[in-house]
Each structure stands twice: as structure tokens, then as C-alpha cells.
Amino acid sequence: MRPPELFAKCKAEEEMLFDQDLGEQKNKWIIDLTFGPLLPACSLKILRR
């Protein structure tokens, strides 16, 4: 990707971030951390953390 295109992509993501409610962002982040990818390498011990 060329620099101006990459800049525009980051800028668009920034705008999306600013449009989100801060409390919602934290809730979404907690969900993403708790329910991360289900990888075959994960043991139940890791999933329980």
C-alpha cells in the first residue's frame, strides 16, 4: 500500500475510534480479551485464565 493510501486507511480507523462510545470500547475490549481465538494449541488450563 502506498503511503497516502495507508494514511487514509489509518485516518478512517481513527475516525471510527473517535465515533465509538468510550464505555462501549472498554466492554468490547473485555469481550475480545476473554473470548479470544480458539486455537488448537490452547489447553483448557489456558482457556480458564
Binding site: 497516502p4 489509518c10 480507523e13 468510550l22 469481550i31 480479551l33 473470548f35 480458539l38 488448537p40 483448557l44
Partner: protein
């Protein structure tokens, strides 16, 4: 969908399915919440349902408790600071790659060369003026984000370390 899939795709699906079944069997013998956790992770990963859509409220609360407790002092604004750094990091990684290439080819005017390559002049200014010891993409993205937010760079840096860790992006 399976009709158009390659044999590698089918093998990958089969192995994923076998792993899921085996994990669910183990989980069933141990703890019902782990069954919920596995199903929620799987359905989220497959982009079919969000955990909030399928989990009973009490289960969702129990499963997220550890993470909520661990980050209970994290302010939502700190999460915004950290995420903003992550949003801009790919841009500064690209800029640093070009910066190193320009330096290695011993071009006389690196900032001008970077701008000619299409990089933003303010971003180039940050990269070329940043302290040599801190000269890496994350520091530059922190500086950039702090200017966008009009907050102190140390507050942005602390938030980013807290959320994403200090070592994750080191390459």
C-alpha cells in the same frame, strides 16, 4: 460451500471440528462454564454470534470477571489512547522502513526524500526529530497520537504499555 472447497480446506475444517469436540468433551467433565467459554469463542471466531448474543447474562458476567477485575482501574480514555497508537502504528512502521532505507542509501536530505515518497510532513517531522534512543515506530506513534489527542505523550505511552504491553511490538 464444501463442494467448492479444496482438500486442504476440508482437512482444516475436520481438524478444527475434531479439536472442538475433544475440548468440549474434556470441558464437560470439568466445568459447565468452560463449555460455554469454548462455544462462545468458537462462534465469535466463526463470526456467527457475539458472546453477548448467545451467553446467559450470569455466565457472561462470570466468564468476563477475571478480565474486568484485572483492568478495573483502566479508564476508558486510556483504552482510547492505546487504541489510537495501534491504529497509527502500521503507518509509522512503513515510515521507519523507508527512513532506514533512505539513511542507508545516504541521501542528503532524508525528510525531503520521505515526503517525496508520499509520507505526511508532520509524521516525517516526528520521526526525524525524535530522540535517537527512542527512535522506533511505537514511540513515534505515541508522539503522533498525543498530538492528535492534545494530551501528554507520557500519558499515552503509559496507557499503551498498560493495554498492549511494552514488548509486544518490539521486532
Amino acid at each position: 460451500m464444501l463442494a467448492s472447497s479444496s482438500s486442504e480446506d476440508i482437512q482444516a475444517w475436520a481438524s478444527k471440528y475434531a479439536f472442538l469436540l475433544s475440548s468440549l468433551r474434556q470441558a464437560r467433565a470439568r466445568d459447565q462454564d468452560v463449555v460455554w467459554l469454548l462455544l462462545a469463542k468458537w462462534l465469535k471466531q466463526e463470526k456467527l454470534f457475539t458472546p453477548e448474543e448467545i451467553l446467559p447474562v450470569g455466565v457472561l458476567k462470570r466468564l468476563t470477571k477475571n478480565v474486568r477485575d484485572r483492568y478495573r482501574h483502566l479508564r476508558p480514555s486510556q483504552l482510547l489512547y492505546a487504541n489510537l497508537v495501534e491504529v497509527w502504528l502500521p503507518y509509522f512502521e512503513a515510515l521507519f522502513n523507508e527512513y532506514r532505507r533512505s539513511n542507508n542509501s545516504r541521501k542528503k536530505d532524508t525528510p525531503a526524500a520521505l515526503q517525496e515518497s508520499g509520507f505526511d510532513s508532520h509524521a516525517v517531522g516526528i520521526v526525524t526529530s525524535i530522540d535517537r534512543r527512542r527512535r522506533e515506530p511505537t514511540s513515534a506513534a505515541v508522539e503522533w497520537a498525543s498530538r492528535r489527542l492534545d494530551v501528554d505523550a507520557s500519558a499515552v505511552s503509559n496507557a499503551h504499555s498498560l493495554v498492549f504491553g511494552t514488548r509486544r511490538r518490539r521486532r
